[in-house]
Subunit: 151 residues, 3 copies
Amino acid sequence: MTFDNPVFVTYVIAATLMIIKMMGQGWITVYRMMKVGGGFLNPEDKSKGWANPKPRPGQLDPDDYVERSRRMHRNELENVPTFLVAGLLFVWTQPALLAAQVLLYGFVVTRLGHFWAYATAKPHEVRATFFSFGSLITIGMAIYTLIYAIQ
Amino acid sequence: MTFDNPVFVTYVIAATLMIIKMMGQGWITVYRMMKVGGGFLNPEDKSKGWANPKPRPGQLDPDDYVERSRRMHRNELENVPTFLVAGLLFVWTQPALLAAQVLLYGFVVTRLGHFWAYATAKPHEVRATFFSFGSLITIGMAIYTLIYAIQ
Amino acid sequence: MTFDNPVFVTYVIAATLMIIKMMGQGWITVYRMMKVGGGFLNPEDKSKGWANPKPRPGQLDPDDYVERSRRMHRNELENVPTFLVAGLLFVWTQPALLAAQVLLYGFVVTRLGHFWAYATAKPHEVRATFFSFGSLITIGMAIYTLIYAIQ
């Protein structure tokens, strides 16, 4: 488990990309709140300040442009942290490099695809397909690691 | 921190079981959405397709059968990722095997109990008891590890 | 990556503090639900028992005192798990001790500040500032680690 090991490096690249992606979703929500001047969550957010230069009624009402980003964020919460740990434990089993690359980079691709499908409101089937492959990669790595540990 | 160490193996078994459990909750939500044909979150999900063979009005309305699974999932989000890291750092302190087994497998048992109590709508007290023991295990491991690190 | 390494110890201290903090938010929600006797999420929670000694109508209605704690908890979900993994991988790159201390303890300070600003309903700008610095620390550690891994 060092940076001399290409399997570990593969994990670190995939993991840091997913962390940057997930943290970025929070900033997309911030950007959208600023753009529409609403979709706020707290009563104190209605006050005037640099975060709210133009107060107006209804700023606490749900705004779907903002809520979509929050739904995307929630989907990240449901998928990224488990991937980060499942991937770490999977590479601890010393899998073949090609298997690690396919699964770990494959997960990143499914999440970027999910992001694209969700942000552009593609049909449910497109989004669900990206979610499904990503979810199955995490579950597959966890099952493989569990069997490896039990043996 | 290798698979020759039974304490580490104990952690890997508990961690992968919890990852599989938490990811499974997402699939339970999917199953419930398909079964009731509703409880969707996005306007585009109302369109006809294999994910929605029979569109009908009200598919975006909250459905408690689906929402219960989402509430269960949120509870997993609040408990599993912190357990995964607290457990990893705890086994890094080289605790006694029996202590690791009681705490790590104990956490898994509390979460399976919580799942059962939540899915079958048992009284709040039953669900709260399972939650409490699991939460205290994570907090206890974190406090122990913190004290070990400071010394 | 052992407890003889002060950089690793710095990470373990910051990580366990954040785990205790995040788990504590769940208990704050429990405390607030008990205090107001409401803000419950599930129909079964309306029944009489030690978790609900005085049933009354409206216990499932959202209560902002309770909901504020849930919003704080959600913000933790969006920030703490990624920090825990980003920090672990960052210390794996063997950074300078001072850099690790500034970033890791700095993150803890931003989250305690965020907690204080959120719990006391300080202006949005105060809360946003604490959030921003914490988020940028996680993103910064992830970018640094990604570049280190790619080289």
